[in-house]
Amino acid sequence: MLKRPLPTQQERVLGEDDFIVSKTDLKGIITYGNRHFIQMSGYSERELLGTPHSILRHPDMPRVVFRLLWDTIQAKREICAYVKNLAKDGSFYWVFANITPSFDRNGDLIGYYSVRRKPRAEAVASIAQIYQALLAEERKAGDGQEGMKASLALLNQTLERKGLSYEEFVFGL
């Protein structure tokens, strides 16, 4: 079992023409990762396969984002999200993640496919502010369901004020 490293302020940057590809099963266990995934995460292929994708979760990420992510893909819909990931050496890297459900021939859900691209710096700057506020909301209410509820309310409120759906907002950044 891999241990999550302590985060540092070191940043890694994904190449402009590259993308990270990974696949997981229904529980989020990694079943495939391309070479960019291996390189950016700092883990070997052997380490990554069979490990939960959440090994890359950075403590700066609000939990509500992953809640939204899972709710959406479990409903067999696509989701896009800006994510700050944690590499094996404690450094971080920002990605614009796109996750889509995979189906077998019978149309049954068999896993998830994720492509992560290099985000624009301006988009990262504005989403980081929002994530910070959401995270503060989660911490203020304690780490339980209450925090999640408060954070989700704040996210919805933010979107409502902009008059945008989550998707429109994310693609407009």
């Binding site: 023409d17 590809v21 079943t31 495939y32 391309n34 889509t100 492509v115 998707e167 429109e168 693609f171």
Partner: protein, 466 residues
């Protein structure tokens, strides 16, 4: 490493040993080569499996557990990269189109990380997504416009129907008011005649009062004359009485000789007494008669004054009645014009309704109530009934424009019928048929304009001639 060990072991031995060693090394090399070849073949087999799956359209599978430095490692990663490119490409295209069909054209396909032809194709995909968005927007706009037109024409129809109902009520009420106004004008005329008669009568009464006043005055004068004559008679009687008394005294003096004379004197005195009595009686009668004539003069003067006053009042009344009769006639004329205008408007609305139903058939289809409604021809529609049998024929057939209404009205019906006839075919997909339908509606509109202006002229002419 094995090869190195072989060479290292061969150092201190003699030739046969060397030969053995070489032989052994060859066997080992062969074995190694066979093993490596087998491993490569096995790995290639696996890779072939993945590629065959990909060729069959299954982009899901990937090669995992790739050993670093393995001969087929780079090949395996290259295959994974190819599959990643393909799968990312297809998923992006799917997502973008899936969103676009729901009108969410902000979700363009992301080409970042795709290479070469994949990236170039994605640019074209996004052009399609964007134009799909525009087409959708146009289609939605068209749909809205069409729905709005439908809504509008539906409401227009309802509105027209309510105006029609209102006009029908108004026409009915105006017809009642018109009748009343006509009666009032008749009454005013009759009153005028009565007043003229009354004035003539009063004039005669006044004249007669003046005449009878003169007669009474004459009578009064004559009775004064009679009074004077009666006084003369009374004086004569008095004197006669005195003479008779003196004669009686003289007769007494004469004694018996005067006896006969005394009788005569007595008779004369009696006669004079009787005459005096009669005169007194006449004077008394005359006094009563005089009082009566004085009263008559006073009465006749009052009658004269009254007749004079009545004449002035009746003259004023006459002026007023004449004015009233005049305005009653004017208001009757205006009322009848207003009635005609409202009737003309009503038949116009009937005509609008007919046309609107024609347009509605386009939306509602040839089996709709609207389609049945437009089947009527120019003789059986409401305007036609009005024109050939109803008030139109009754009130307007004498005006010059009446005959000019028939042709354009028949034209409207013919064109609407022709347009509706085109709707039974596959007009939705045929631009030529659509132009034909449009042309018929356009011709119907032009004819309808003539119908409207002709109705206006008919009303105008009827009131100019009247």
């Amino acid at each position: 490493m094995l090869l190195g060990a072989g060479w290292a072991a061969s150092g201190p031995h003699p030739l046969p040993t060397l030969a053995w060693s070489l032989g052994g090394a060859c066997v080992l090399l062969l074995g190694l080569a066979l093993y490596t070849a087998h491993r490569i073949l096995t790995a290639l087999d696996r890779l072939t499996g993945h590629l065959k799956a990909a060729a069959a359209g299954n982009l899901e599978s990937r090669i995992t557990g790739i050993k670093a430095g393995a001969a087929t490692g780079e090949l395996a990663w290259a295959i994974n990269d190819l599959l990643d490119q393909q799968e990312a490409y297809f998923r992006e295209v799917y997502s973008a189109f899936e969103h676009a069909t729901r009108g969410q054209t902000f979700r363009l396909a992301m080409d970042q990380g795709l290479h070469g032809a994949f990236k170039e194709a994605m640019v074209r995909v996004n052009i399609s997504v964007e134009s799909l968005g525009q087409v959708q927007m146009m289609a939605l706009k068209e749909k809205l416009i069409s729905k709005l037109t439908d809504l509008n024409s539906g409401n227009l129809l309802t509105n027209l129907k309510s105006i029609q109902e209102y006009l029908m009520n108004m026409t009915q009420e105006m017809s009642i008011v018109g009748q009343l106004s006509k009666e009032t004008a008749g009454d005013a005329e009759a009153s005028r005649a009565t007043i003229e008669g009354l004035v003539a009568d009063l004039n005669r009464v006044a004249e007669m009062a003046v005449a009878s006043d003169a007669q009474v005055r004459l009578l009064h004068e004559k009775s004064d004359e009679i009074h004077q004559i009666v006084q003369v008679i009374t004086e004569v009687a008095d004197r006669t009485n005195l003479l008779a008394l003196n004669a009686a005294i003289e007769a007494a003096h004469a004694g018996d000789a005067g006896k006969g004379f005394a009788v005569v004197a007595e008779e004369v005195r009696t006669l004079s007494e009787n005459t005096k009595d009669a005169a007194a009686s006449i004077a008394k009668t005359l006094q009563t008669f005089g009082q009566a004539t004085t009263q008559m003069i006073s009465d006749s003067e009052q009658v004269k004054a009254l007749a004079e006053g009545s004449r002035t009042a009746v003259a004023e009344f006459r002026t007023r009645v004449l004015k009233f009769a005049g305005s009653a006639t004017t208001s009757f004329t205006q009322m009848s014009r207003a009635q005609d205008l409202s009737f003309a408007t009503l038949v116009k609305v009937d005509h609008f309704l007919y046309k609107q139903n024609g347009y509605r058939v386009i939306h509602q289809g040839t089996a709709s109530p609207e389609a049945r409604a437009v089947q009527s021809d120019h003789r059986s529609c409401r305007l036609g009934t009005w024109y050939y049998e109803g008030q139109g024929a009754e009130l307007f057939s004498h005006v010059p424009s009446y005959v000019r209404l028939e042709a354009p009205h028949a034209d409207v019906h013919r064109n609407i019928h022709d347009a509706v006839a085109q709707l039974s075919g596959a007009w939705e997909r045929n631009p030529a048929t659509q132009s034909l339908i449009y042309a018929h509606f356009e011709a119907a509109e032009r004819a309808s304009e003539t119908v409207m202006s002709t109705i206006d002229r008919m009303v105008e002419e009827r009131h100019r001639l009247a």
